[in-house]
Symmetry: C2
Subunit: 458 residues, 2 copies
């Protein structure tokens, strides 16, 4: 392989860390449907959310200001790893023999190894500003829990994490990383909450789910004034914080002299995808940029965007959260086991769902073996081993690059490499051993979960 | 913790990646003792090493030129992660309440998570330039094997790694990472070499050692013209390649406006330590800089610099390598089990040993629990979880900072954070569970290993 075909890195000085997050609510052609109270089905106001979140984050959740200033203490912590690099994947282009230009933004350089600290840090900051002493949260694969543990350690806030039991048992190293930062990590369902005890009463060896873990974390936060809840994806303010990814990428693409035609990200709750694409999409919506093709890539085993219903649903299994309109597989839906734990959520960010409904983005789903094959190809060409979640974006990128080859077009593709796979080597071992199944979800279970959606007049 | 006390990061643009490695041989007050042929005990010439290394690396091994140009294709790969950041650890300073200023160079941002690719990449490059198709090597903890596998993938060279059997069994994830890059990873001792078979004949369940794995890799390389051997530490050319660390750090310290008084690195074979300190020491030797305090930190369970003998010894257990003068515990010495696998080598780089003899550096040894305590303290203050090896440097840094506090002196300390600990969470789990022993090596075994040193007239 010719070394003159090396990756090219586009760096930004830390003075280029954005000073404001970009809020696409200011540029949407139609507003987001309102969030509803789970009991009354009436739109919730900021006060309804106050038991769970500090008011500064609630105001960001409903803000329609285009720019939300990033507090200086948050930018100071961002400096630990931001600006993150943007690369042109010249070796991958060459091995695919494609006329396409492939760029990727790499978020794996954060201390947690993923994009999650982009929102964990401001969430910990605003909670501390509000005098909060403890934050509860849930985690599946462990990326989010690790990131909040890290942010909590830096801002002197106690963090309690409910970790889906099956992951808790399978991923002791992730748990150790959270505990190493001083966080408390509990297997969910647990005996520590009513929601947990109710599940355990039905089934003592319940493997847990993100929906259950959310119920436990929310319940605990609602009980104490000094405790709030934090979510690592889905919500507007989380997606807002992630826009640092896309804002930096826009500046870096300008340095490269290329303009992306296709933007790609993997989607579980939607935050890394949104973080990359929203600033570009905003430019398009304001008539300041071209029309982009924007592709959300999800696992075929948990396909909320491609197979879910766009409807009001709960964020959790215990039905403690408000109702949001989103693409959902139903809050009781349990996907089959697969190795991208960060993409196993039943719903999709309301904002990402809304963009899909407005035809501003497209979506596709892949099975996991095809994704791992893409990840291995990427690692051998570019040197970075992607997380299983990120492999979905890599798969779609390679397929788009091969399409360009077939069509003889030199398009520019930009994707978000949202994290490294150093904590996920068991998945790669299973892949190489031919032990990964491309399981489909259970059609009957999906039908039942969708039938159980709350009936909301809207 | 006040956020105004955040870490400060000193970045260099990639145009500042050094164009030449720094060779301290040009500035040494006394030359290194010669390398001797294992049979004749006469100094070896370049041709004697030709079966193992390409001539370009052999010439670097013996060069006395102050600057050795870094080939452009190597700099291009370096761009994937270099220049690496240098941080001021303000949060750690604050939590220690010390007047000392603490800086660290962070090498964990490479795709392999450590400093090892700094030499793996040029070694793969020079081998490919020489038309070599396959490189053999050994690995203990797996950092070096991972790095050479990564470099081999980028330059299209086959890599075969002999991994110490106990690590091979305990660290399947490290192995998976090497295989993911396309390398072949074999448990050592193996049936694939005479050296391996001889050991297995004595003891079928032999756990292996770095010395044995080196014998196997060297044996295989010597047999075939298209195959050479690569070493990840100890040798002059390896230390030379690592000087990119110190060269960048010098420039970054200049940006900070501070001048280090104390330089600290952990030492196994000596390469990350040397990489940081040699450029500073060269400045001192040329009369262009101050006299630095330079501290090499090693594990108390494998203390070659503090308890070994400065003598001619073999690099491997099978006695296939040339003899080099170094601080050694004897090539048959087996340290007790501890969690910094990268620091378990019986010898020390001849160059680092020479500097110790010349009183240009000092050395100290720590037990592992004290090192893990320091690593956890560092992670909670600075956000980065260090590798167990790097924890030795963190321990010494904290102790020096506390000394400054006691003495009321505001000295500046710079240490090399040579890798992250994401692959070493089992060690942290054991530490938190109180399961780590501070084992001493066996005095009788050390005496026996030292008694077995080859008798060389010199």
């Amino acid at each position: 392989m010719a070394t003159s075909e090396s990756a090219t890195k586009y760096l930004l000085d830390e003075s280029r860390i954005p000073r404001a997050w970009y809020n696409i609510a200011a540029d949407l052609p139609a507003p987001l449907p309102p969030v509803l109270h789970p009991g009354t089905h009436q739109p919730v106001g900021p006060d309804d959310l106050a038991p769970l979140f500090p008011m500064s984050l609630i105001m960001q959740e409903v803000s329609t200001e285009r720019e939300v200033e990033i507090p200086e203490p948050v930018r100071e912590v961002y400096r630990l790893w931001r600006c993150t690099p943007l690369y042109r994947a010249r070796r991958l282009e060459k091995s695919l023999d494609t006329p396409a230009k492939i760029y990727y933004k790499y978020e794996g350089v954060s201390p947690a190894g993923s994009h999650k600290p982009n929102t964990a840090v401001p969430q910990a900051f605003y909670n501390r500003e509000a005098g909060i002493r403890r934050i509860t949260t849930e985690t599946g694969a462990g990326q989010w829990g690790t990131s909040l543990a890290f942010a909590g350690a830096l801002f002197g806030i106690e963090v309690q994490i409910f970790m889906v039991r099956v992951s808790y048992n399978q991923k002791p190293y992730r748990r150790a990383l959270m505990e190493n930062y001083g966080a408390r990590c509990t297997a969910s369902p647990s005996e520590e909450t009513q929601s947990g005890r109710a599940i355990l009463a039905q089934r003592a060896d319940h493997p847990g789910s993100l929906g259950i873990a959310i119920s436990e974390a929310v319940e605990l936060a609602a009980q104490r004034d000094d405790t709030k809840y934090a979510l690592g994806s889905v919500l507007n303010h989380v997606l807002l914080h992630q826009t640092v990814v896309g804002l930096e990428a826009m500046e870096q693409m300008a340095l490269s002299g290329d303009q992306p035609h296709v933007l790609i990200g993997c989607t579980g709750g939607g935050s890394n995808f949104a973080g990359l694409v929203l600033p570009f999409l905003g430019q398009q919506l304001r008539g300041e940029g071209p029309r982009y093709r924007i592709i959300a890539v999800e696992p075929a085993a948990c396909p909320s965007l491609t197979r879910g219903k766009y409807a009001y649903d709960f964020g959790d299994t215990g039905h403690l959260t408000p109702l949001t309109k989103m693409h959902t597989l139903g809050s009781t839906f349990t996907p089959p086991g697969f190795h991208a734990g960060g993409l196993r959520y039943h719903g999709m960010a309301p904002l990402v769902s809304h963009l899909k409904e407005l035809d501003l983005i497209e979506a596709r789903a892949y099975h996991q073996n095809a994704c791992f094959a893409a990840g291995v190809e990427f690692a051998r060409a570019e040197g970075i081993v992607p997380a299983p979640e990120a492999n979905h974006a890599v798969r779609a990128t390679i397929d788009e690059a091969l399409r360009c080859k077939e069509e003889g077009r030199s398009q520019t593709i930009l994707f978000n490499l949202c994290g490294h796979g150093h904590f996920d080597m068991q998945a790669y071992i299973d892949y190489h051993a031919g032990k990964l199944a491309d399981q489909n979800y259970d059609e009957g279970e999906l039908a039942m979960a969708l039938a159980g959606l709350p009936s909301v007049g809207a």
